[in-house]
Symmetry: none
Amino acid sequence: MGTTRDEQAEQRRTALMDAALAVFAAKGVDGASIKNIAAEAGVTPGLVYHYFESKTHLVTTVLRERGFGPRLRELLAEAADKPATEVLSLVVGGFQQVLADNAQLVELFFGASRSNDEIHAAMGDFVRDGRAMLADYLRSRAEAGELRPHDAEVAATALFATVAMGVRTATPIDAGELVRIVLLGTLVREGDFHD
Amino acid sequence: MGTTRDEQAEQRRTALMDAALAVFAAKGVDGASIKNIAAEAGVTPGLVYHYFESKTHLVTTVLRERGFGPRLRELLAEAADKPATEVLSLVVGGFQQVLADNAQLVELFFGASRSNDEIHAAMGDFVRDGRAMLADYLRSRAEAGELRPHDAEVAATALFATVAMGVRTATPIDAGELVRIVLLGTLVREGDFHD
Amino acid sequence: MGTTRDEQAEQRRTALMDAALAVFAAKGVDGASIKNIAAEAGVTPGLVYHYFESKTHLVTTVLRERGFGPRLRELLAEAADKPATEVLSLVVGGFQQVLADNAQLVELFFGASRSNDEIHAAMGDFVRDGRAMLADYLRSRAEAGELRPHDAEVAATALFATVAMGVRTATPIDAGELVRIVLLGTLVREGDFHD
Amino acid sequence: MGTTRDEQAEQRRTALMDAALAVFAAKGVDGASIKNIAAEAGVTPGLVYHYFESKTHLVTTVLRERGFGPRLRELLAEAADKPATEVLSLVVGGFQQVLADNAQLVELFFGASRSNDEIHAAMGDFVRDGRAMLADYLRSRAEAGELRPHDAEVAATALFATVAMGVRTATPIDAGELVRIVLLGTLVREGDFHD
DNA sequence: TATGAATGAGGATTCATTCAT
DNA sequence: GATGAATGAATCCTCATTCAT
């Protein structure tokens, strides 16, 4: 009934990623040292290299396994047959919740190393992936006639970036209000609009 | 008509800030070393400390004097008596232009050190200032009855964050489309909306 | 007819020494890590310590059991009753062949760790032994009146070192020419010689 | 009358190379750490990098500036118009003297890093250069009719390698005897020779 | 036998900063 | 003003070795 060797190893790996996430959040990726992370996890620096071949690998793994990608996928899957107005509220609210639960992730992204090209590139991919998922959903609603034709990448970026920036600057965004703006706009008389 | 001592000093200071901005953009704040910056400016590391008392001071000074705050202020001032629909297009387009012209600034912000608390705090202030300026404008248009009542901070964040994120992820945002979304929304039938 | 426990163990030991020799040749003694050697042998680092009590022991064992001592002994034994001129050609040629076949040995010697005194000492013994064997042969030929009296250690060193250095610097030595020089000299008129 | 800044810097550089040579000799190139070398010179590790951009550069610089190349060049230049028998005695004796004075050099070469390809290559070049200088001299004597036609590279290698190996194995070679063997050979009756 | 998790010391290197010149 | 030598601490990472499983 005791944990097996493999289970213990898996726990260690998990613990190291937890520790990494915490330290990245507190000090940023560049500011976090392997020593910091090891200490946070209560192990020796050398052990980190037993589980992750380099700091770069550690960062990209944390990003892949702990990023909001998996969570966002769930949210969109679950919300497949509801009206867009509800779905977007769920997505934005859920997204904000994920970020709130893992303030570290936002810091991870915004504080992402520019001093390490590999990490920087991974960071970009990661954001683009998330945005593409949301944009795909928006496009499908436009095709379904529920949303007017629009640049879904722009709308997705707006939803995503606004929430993230709100967290980053410690100015929480009201998710409902954000969805309202993106769905209904802010203009009183539509006729006033001209490019 | 030779330059005076003070002018020379001012030129050096300017040159050092130019160099710092360039290196920050290329390598991020944490990745930039004083040696790098000095080399970029064609001087020795020691001299940097004649003009800026520490790396932290150098960063915060660059941020204050070279941030997009001043530019944003200009843009909003110029656009003071035009309809919101036009003003926002100008502001967003102009903002995007500023960022495009100074990709360094975006990098400076996104790549801002989390490993140095003082720098991190300065970064936050700087973003909040910009957003507040835009929100003030939006609020004034709502009071004037041109825009419907809405959370201006959220809308300002959306405009600001979306453009910035687009630059950051090398996925340029269509400014017109962004303004259209924020002003007109994306929903086909307003009646479909419910919180 | 299956292999016994002892045979298996012996095979493992042999495999580990093969792996060690290969890695030493490729990276030098200092550059080779236990992990490298274990990987080369397809086992885990821990197992190496089952067969060899330390890296030092592994190196000295490889040196003793795989050094060219054994091969040199064979060459000299086979060549026991032929004229010196033929014997030396055989010995030098054979020696060069041994080195060519086991470039690893040359690297092992030349790349021998100075950072570990024990290994360094073992290395010295090993070379001195080889040289002594060749010198013994030369002395016996001088006593037999075939060679003029000379310092056999010097001649042996010359033969040995020249071939080895040639291999080390990737400049193969013509064995026949080396023997010719050591047996006949290079001077046109012997009378020209004076100390 | 005080030393200038440049002079002091030059002294430091010299002192660092002295220290490096000493530590390389004592522990081998791989065994020598920058910390060791800095301590030997009485400075901080960081300073080593102010003068030499990497450990590799330090090693190759020491080799180039302190190797026996410069010394060998002098010996051959001085010896230009003397009979080969005398010249070679001078060269071999002088060479042995250089090695005796800088036992470190021999260790440097023999202990040369195999774990660093760049250093290993530099080491090879360095030996080949020295050998080429001696071979050129031998060829010129053969053309002058003083030495019989022979493979000068082989003879040069023999002279060079034998002395070096003697030092390396702490078995000093009698320089006179070595020259005698290479000039006169060891065979009693030349007619006995056959390939 | 064999594994691979874990350690702790040490490796090369970089860096912000100071200060004599 | 300007230089660049010097520091010392911190960085990522590697390694020989041990030991519970």
